[in-house]
């Protein structure tokens, strides 16, 4: 079928997904080391639910299980959602999030390749509008928690609820959340940043996790699984917007560095916004898509009612992708730069 001058690519969907998951591992290990073993429980639960829902929907749609399950796309969605959600949340929160991601956002749209929206972010958005309380209780950094949880404790908390140990002993708000509530109380920026959950740049511990995601993202770049356009434009858009806001009013808006290293910014830039199905696909389109997503994140974080805006920004830009792609088609080699005006008859 393929003639002689071509080289066959070795990347199957399944292998690409596995490599992306591999690139997430430094961040996951850092997370487990700095925030306790809760992440293993949420990753395990999300993966199990994702495979379950995917298999169920494939059965309902009358499709063969093996080829679709073994493309690993459901697993990657599960990992991305697990890493965006607080660890140590009740088990049903993961079930609902994965259910909406896999069933509604992916399979109801027609499965992998047909989904207009990033499934993990749809799951996240549905959870944060429905269960805001659970979505703001994050595992506290191990160094700060009154009670260090073992892996067994983490299972207990996730499945049995928070009956045996008080939730305050091992959870805390995120830095973005703290910043938002304290700024509304007119607390000066210095005293907010002096709170124990803040580290040298952003959330204590979270900075390292974000840097590990950055390292994983650079690995993806070097493997040529993603191009530089989306991460760069994403981070530049966020930095520029957050920087301008910070210059205008440093008491209301946190520094760009804090924005870059907190919340879902790094994970979003390299792993979520780069989703090959729901992201823009032309080079110029990628720059516009990701730049505007970064801009929206800073705006939502600065003025919106939710602490983090990565999910909403990515979903809003997913909506614009067909439009952006249509207007940024690259010039085909050998064709004139501008379309010749239609000659008058």
């Amino acid at each position: 079928m393929i003639g002689s001058p071509y080289i066959l690519g070795r990347n199957s969907t399944s292998a690409i997904m596995l490599k992306v998951m591999l690139a997430l591992i430094p961040g996951i290990v850092a997370h487990a080391w700095l925030f306790g073993p809760g992440i293993w429980v949420s990753l395990l639960l999300c993966s199990a639910f994702a495979i379950g829902f995917e298999a169920l929907l494939l059965l309902l749609r009358g499709l063969p299980l093996k080829p679709f399950l073994s493309d690993n796309s459901a697993l990657l969605t599960a990992w991305l959602l697990a890493l965006s959600l607080p660890t140590l949340a009740p088990w049903w929160l993961y079930a609902i999030g994965i259910g909406i991601a896999i069933v509604v956002a992916k399979q109801l749209y027609g499965g992998l390749g047909q989904n207009l929206f990033n499934p993990a972010m749809v799951g996240y958005a549905a959870l944060i509008v429905s269960f805001p309380v659970y979505m703001t209780q994050w595992a506290a950094p191990v160094a700060l928690a009154d009670h260090a949880l073992t892996l067994w404790d983490a299972f207990d908390v996730v499945f049995a609820g928070q009956s045996s140990i008080s939730a305050d002993a091992y959870t805390s708000a995120t830095v973005l959340d703290t910043w938002k509530t304290q700024v509304r109380l007119n607390t000066p920026a210095e005293s907010i940043l002096n709170q124990p959950i803040f580290g040298w740049a952003a959330g204590r511990g979270h900075e390292i996790v974000a840097l590990m995601y950055l390292a994983g993202g650079l690995l993806l770049l070097s493997l040529k699984l993603i191009t530089w356009h989306i991460p760069l434009a994403f981070l530049l858009g966020l930095t520029a917007t957050a920087g301008v806001l910070h210059l205008i009013d440093p008491t209301q808006h946190a520094s760009p560095l804090l924005h870059l290293l907190s919340g879902g910014a790094m994970l979003g830039a390299f792993f979520i916004a780069t989703d090959p199905v729901s992201a823009a696909s032309t080079p110029r389109g990628k720059l516009i898509y990701a730049g505007l997503a970064g801009f929206l994140i800073a705006i939502i974080r600065g003025f919106g009612s939710f602490p983090d805006g990565v999910a909403f920004a990515v979903l809003l830009m997913n909506m614009c992708v067909p439009f952006i792609d249509d207007y940024t088609q690259p010039r085909v080699f050998g064709h004139p730069r501008k379309r010749p005006k239609p000659s008058k008859p």
Binding site: A126, V129, S130, F131
Partner: protein, 239 residues
Amino acid sequence: MSSPDATLAPDSATPEIKPGAPSHGLISQETRDIIVNGLWTQNPGIVQLLGLCPLLAISNNIINALSLGLATTLVMAVSSGSVALVRNFIPHEIRIPAFVLIIAALVTIVELAMHAWVPALYILLGVFIPLITTNCIVLARVEAFASKRSTTHSVLDATMMGLGLTAVLVVLGGMREAIGKGTLFSGIDLALGPIAKDWVIPLAHDYNGFLLAILPPGAFIGLGLLIALRNRLLMRDKS
């Protein structure tokens, strides 16, 4: 509002109804067709997809859905009947403004009546009661059916279409309320007075609520699932 012409297309796809067709038992074939069309074959909610604005906005619980559905049904029945009565006196060129005037007058009556007798419900439904005027399903039935057919059949058609819409609203409202709040018939006291306060059915204790179902996305997802369910049933019938 979608153009009433759009509603003519599905109608024309159904078998031609011959006036005076042989009757089976008590009701004629024509009457039966009108009933089946309104409730199932041409259901405004899940087949024609008309009147979606109130359908999606108000269907967050059963009581809201039922009240607005019945109010719409009432307006539809009376306006279709009135239009069928006067259809031969309305010049063809200005029929749409004339229809809208008749509908608007009837909606105002319903609105004032609800304000007088069920004020709590009136406040809850708010702008969606006057908006019945602009609901395309009302004008669609008037234009596509009542302006051409006899008064009795027009009233029957509008009532069945209205009840079909109400049924979809109630099912959607029930789904959204059960999933979103974990209750059924919450707010029943607003419609029936304080005596009905205990008639709310809690489905689960300590239910956290699933806000997405109550919010607009829940309405779209729920409606999509209902349409899918109907298509599924039709596919099973065919095979």
